[in-house]
Symmetry: C2
Subunit: 436 residues, 2 copies
Amino acid sequence: MEKIDGKNLKHTLTPEEIITAEGREITLCACVHKIKKSGGFYFVLLRTGRYVYQTVYRAGKCKGDFAALCEGAYISVSGTVKKEERAPYGFEIELTDFEILSKPKSECPFDISASHLGVSIETSMEHRFAALRNPEERAAFKICEGVTTAFSSFMQKNGFTEIHTPKLTTLNMEDKKHAFRLKYFGETAYLAQSPQLYKQAAVAFFERVFEVGSAYRADKHNSTRHLNEFISLDFEMAYAAGLHEIMAVITAFLKHAIKYLNKNYQNELQILGVTLPEIKTIPCITFNEALEILCKPKKQPDLDPTDEVKICKWAREKFKTGLIFIEKFPQKKRPFYVMGSKGNPKLTETFDLIFDGKEIASGSLRLHDYDELTVKIKRMGIDEAQYAPYLDMFLCGMPPHGGAAIGLERLVMQLLGLDDIRQATLFPRDLHHITP
Amino acid sequence: MEKIDGKNLKHTLTPEEIITAEGREITLCACVHKIKKSGGFYFVLLRTGRYVYQTVYRAGKCKGDFAALCEGAYISVSGTVKKEERAPYGFEIELTDFEILSKPKSECPFDISASHLGVSIETSMEHRFAALRNPEERAAFKICEGVTTAFSSFMQKNGFTEIHTPKLTTLNMEDKKHAFRLKYFGETAYLAQSPQLYKQAAVAFFERVFEVGSAYRADKHNSTRHLNEFISLDFEMAYAAGLHEIMAVITAFLKHAIKYLNKNYQNELQILGVTLPEIKTIPCITFNEALEILCKPKKQPDLDPTDEVKICKWAREKFKTGLIFIEKFPQKKRPFYVMGSKGNPKLTETFDLIFDGKEIASGSLRLHDYDELTVKIKRMGIDEAQYAPYLDMFLCGMPPHGGAAIGLERLVMQLLGLDDIRQATLFPRDLHHITP
């Protein structure tokens, strides 16, 4: 019988911790990233969960069995810390001993230690478990961590409560044709395309809520910017005075996220060779203004991807920013639950946020009055019975509210200038990939 | 054309902010929680996203149309802050004006303002959108927020990287019979029962990872402690020296979570009438020791729910704690990927954490050697082809590793002493509920 006290937890030493141990011996577990001969000794690069450290093996000075060492092995080492300006993080470790904990069964399909893996996304997907070991490939996912952490802390600081809503549902807010369907104990259920209904319900009791959760779209896209399963950064807030208040929350979050990433993820930004944009303000134009800028006819109900690219180019020239809000889209392509614009019932209180040619967020004010909602559902020819559980919440009263959703992978893709959204997704789900 | 700068975000005033405005007028948006006549005036209790504030309406002093006011309306008020020791948080607000923003269509099916709703979970499920407006009902979900926030910050502080893994998969680590199945562009996919495979894969490149994500079990349970969709707090770590190191991480997390909740969620703990347990150490016994304590025969392959209740009673008497680790379960009921115990191949390096009679976590050391894994898969008669993508990752080498999963709703249920796990789930998914 033992008692577990949870004290003295071990962790892998960071560069800052190692450098303070200069001249002393430390121990470390890591993966053998690269072995390079250099005159009478060997450089053994060791990959930890975040860093690659330079160690040196000299035959007479280290007890470990060098012949047994190979790239890809996981080992435990001891060695002396020496200042070395030419090494990463300004130190190297002179090995005194090592023990091999685990060896690979076969060689990796590509050179994990390359500064740039240089394989197609298709090849990377085929050997996903290997590709992600490359420091540049994995770096994007530390940035994903940074963005979600920044999102959660920003939201909580601003009075939003974190919620978890079901992804199995019978209620689809967007479009059943493009939802994954399954049997749930005899009933037909769908994978939620968004937490829309549930986050709306939650403003009645939490006033402001956010969620970091999976969302599903069964669209047969075959593009570099769509996923069939993605992480949605959702929020919803009561008493929003207007669309611009919701945009202000997104703007403030993006500023906070960039500050947070610059402070805590320099290591990864340097590996990726990325300088994050500085955001001061984000311009906002109406859909009709966008059509004028694009010299397009007014009857067009939505912008297409090329329009989005052109608008961002225009914004970059005019405002020196790749980010732009477009608001007040026509009702036609927007879901029933959005609020119509006062004075112009054909327009809606909706917006998209475009970032260097790609939509990364969208939001709206929602209808909150039971009568207005039911009238609109009837007018749009929607089956009212299907939305009965949704309408239920409005019977007890709902505050005026609105919200938005930000696509995590899209945001990270654009922040880092990645070519393909799959590079911002650990195990992408698309038309061709349900495995691994 | 406007520019959104994200500055001067609004938020609802906290009690601390209101009390500092004593003698001054403030404005506030909130829901009319309760109207109570008291002599020549009315108490109007206002419910914000977290608090219920006492305001006072006097006919001559407030411009708002009192006749139009009703419980459940969402309103914007202005009023003067007055110290009042008998009121919640030590103040009340003397109303000077209000505007009704939204009114309910019909009355709530029960008294939202009751300190204890007092309806069955079945009734609460039937009127979920109403029930969650009750301050006691919603309080559990602030605690859920606190636990996940504490989990994320604890894990990151200890060198774990947050990951998001797919919930749509063809790989099932546990048991296909009890997985939800769906068609994914012509292929058969499953909803992940756990992120097991993916978090194991991630230790190869991030060393230590954690995830807060949905998990799915298609079991036909009809109990107060099972959900078919739940939030799993998962972590996985390379180089764990043994099972006790993984238990130590859980113990340290629980200590941290309780400290964090006590610091930041006193408001909800008081509403719920809960004093959180103090954890110093968590005792750990072996499965065989547990059988001895229970006076049960050695051939039993697992503990049943009554055993778990008895063991916790025993722990409470002997160690004054309702928490106990049980380790080294027989191979029979444990999945193929767990490591066998050295010296006794019939036992495994596995553990469960039981909290007042209910399992809240389980973990194990995993096999990390390709040859050992394939031999075991064959010996257990498992279709090797099915696990080919899983086995792939071991070809490139894997560090020794282990991990665990904590059920969020189970943990919150036990921390708060709730009777039913549905009370710790906003919109529960069980045998009878796929809606709302």
